[in-house]
């Protein structure tokens, strides 16, 4: 049993309505848990105070009406909130994080042991896979993902900077517009040419280099002219 459960028994303990067995277990726990002892002492003080002050305060003339007003006020405040947010059960992570845990030494030792075994097994498998990957040659006929991914990113950047350029282009002189379009055309032709070459020979390093260079040049050119 953990502190949370022991603290639920405190109220009955202070009232003296707890079973003898629970009472004994709680007293044993209070002897070793200062937090629960403090909570128990606080609760006992409040109850004792209330008992001591019993009869000294006059009840309001219409106690029921007062409680109804309080109840209405609370409902009025909670109403819109409840309409917007349906009451949700706290998630398992929330419950896990807000739960107080108390484990014995053997329990703790077995948890630590389990974690060590799982980590060791995982590391072993990971290292084996890594060695396998490093030793194995690249699969033939399989397209390399890295250049494709790089080209996709470059195309995304080109699309972004193109939009920025289009916003300003109307302000340019006709001569500058013509020059810019002509030069972008030169770079695009290099891109197209490299793509064609790569279709014929997918592993041609020269075409790969030119394609990469041309796409980078286009990004740089668009970026430069985006604030012109």
């Amino acid at each position: 049993m953990n502190c949370e459960k022991y603290q639920m028994l405190l109220s009955d303990f202070v009232d003296g309505t707890l079973t003898a067995e629970d009472c004994a277990r709680l007293e044993l726990h209070l002897g070793s848990c200062p937090d629960c002892t403090d909570t128990g002492n606080d609760l006992r003080m409040i109850v004792d105070f209330c008992r001591g002050q019993r009869g000294q305060y006059e009840p309001p003339p219409n106690e029921r009406a007062m409680w109804l007003r309080i109840s209405n006020l609370i409902e009025a405040e909670q109403g819109p909130l409840n309409q917007l947010q349906p009451a949700a059960e706290p998630g398992w992570l929330f419950r896990l994080m807000h739960r107080s845990w108390q484990v014995s030494f053997p329990q703790l030792a077995s948890i630590v042991g389990t974690v060590v075994v799982v980590v060791a097994l995982g590391t072993g498998f990971g290292v084996r896979e890594l060695v396998k990957t490093a030793v194995a040659p690249p699969a033939p006929n399989k397209p390399q993902a890295l250049p494709d991914e790089r080209h996709r990113q470059q195309q995304e950047m080109i699309a972004y900077w193109n939009q920025r350029v289009d916003l300003n282009k109307a302000r340019w002189s006709q001569q500058m517009r013509d020059t810019f379009d002509r030069n972008v055309g030169v770079i695009d032709a290099a891109v197209d040419d490299s793509m064609k070459q790569l279709k014929v020979n997918p592993h041609d390093p020269v075409s790969e280099d030119i394609l990469n260079d041309a796409l980078n040049d286009k990004v740089a050119l668009l970026k430069e002219f985006s604030d012109y």
Binding site: R182, A189, D193, L221
Partner: protein, 255 residues
């Protein structure tokens, strides 16, 4: 009826007088349309000059004086030039100085005179760049779009020249251990070098028009990708030369 100067000389004289007056009156207005700015700056130990132009011709020359002279001829009288002397050297940023003009800076033609030991870093969006006899650490000429680059008598340890549309001509020497990069989208890249030059070259032209000229050595060079790339050594191979041309020629000449 025939009308000729000899028939009636008076109207002809009047007309020529009117034209003469018009020419005299309009000539200064053409001259006034352009604004000339000329400034001088002291050159430090390690001279570095940076210029970022928008459009126009940039010419850099060397002289024996220990100062940098900047002469600018501006088409747009609203354009401003604000050279800044920094620890790194003299910096002129026409793009930054004229952001308010919304791209209508117009042509600015620069003539720069500086000591031969200077490093120069030049950039323009379009226009020609000429660099003569600079022998500092760095010579960089970059044209974002169209324009020719000419480097004559350049002897620097790092040289970069690039444009998209236009020719690049380099006449100079490669320093052992130096780095040299030339790149064009569509234009001819020509390198004129002394016979004693030693370098490792990687020349790439996707249209297969690479001529190593007198520097070709079949034992020390190889053709790759159907002749679209030539790589190999010339002489001691100690300078590193990279040339890329998307759609144009690459050619080597001996000086």
């Amino acid at each position: 009826m025939k009308l000729s100067a000899s028939d009636n000389p008076r109207p002809v004289k009047i007309l020529s007088a009117v034209f003469s007056i018009l020419i005299v009156l309009t000539a200064p207005s053409f001259a006034l349309a352009q604004q000339k700015v000329s400034r001088h700056y002291p050159a430090g130990e390690n001279v570095r000059f940076e210029l970022k132009n928008v459009t126009g011709t940039i010419t850099v020359e060397t002289w024996n004086r220990d100062e940098i002279a900047v002469t600018a001829l501006m088409d747009n009288r609203k354009a401003t030039i604000n050279p800044r002397m920094t620890e790194a050297g003299l910096v002129i940023d026409i793009v930054g100085d004229n952001r308010g003009l919304g791209g209508n800076v117009g042509d600015i033609n620069f003539k720069i005179q500086l000591p031969a030991r200077s490093s120069v870093d030049l950039e323009t969006r379009s226009g020609q760049i000429n660099v003569h006899n600079v022998q500092g650490d760095l010579v960089r000429a970059h044209i974002w779009t169209s324009g020719d680059i000419q480097m004559l008598g350049v002897n620097a340890s790092r040289v970069f020249a690039s444009n998209v549309e236009g020719n690049i001509f380099f006449d100079g020497e490669f320093v052992a251990g130096g780095t040299y990069e030339f790149k064009s989208g569509r234009g001819t890249i020509s390198l004129q070098l002394p016979a004693s030059c030693g370098f490792h070259v990687v020349a790439t032209s996707s249209v297969k028009r690479i001529s190593m000229g007198p520097f070709w050595d079949e034992r020390r060079m190889q053709l790759l990708s159907d002749g679209r790339r030539i790589t190999g050594d010339v002489g001691d191979g100690r300078a590193s030369v990279t040339i890329t041309n998307y759609q144009g020629n690459i050619q080597f000449f001996r000086r």
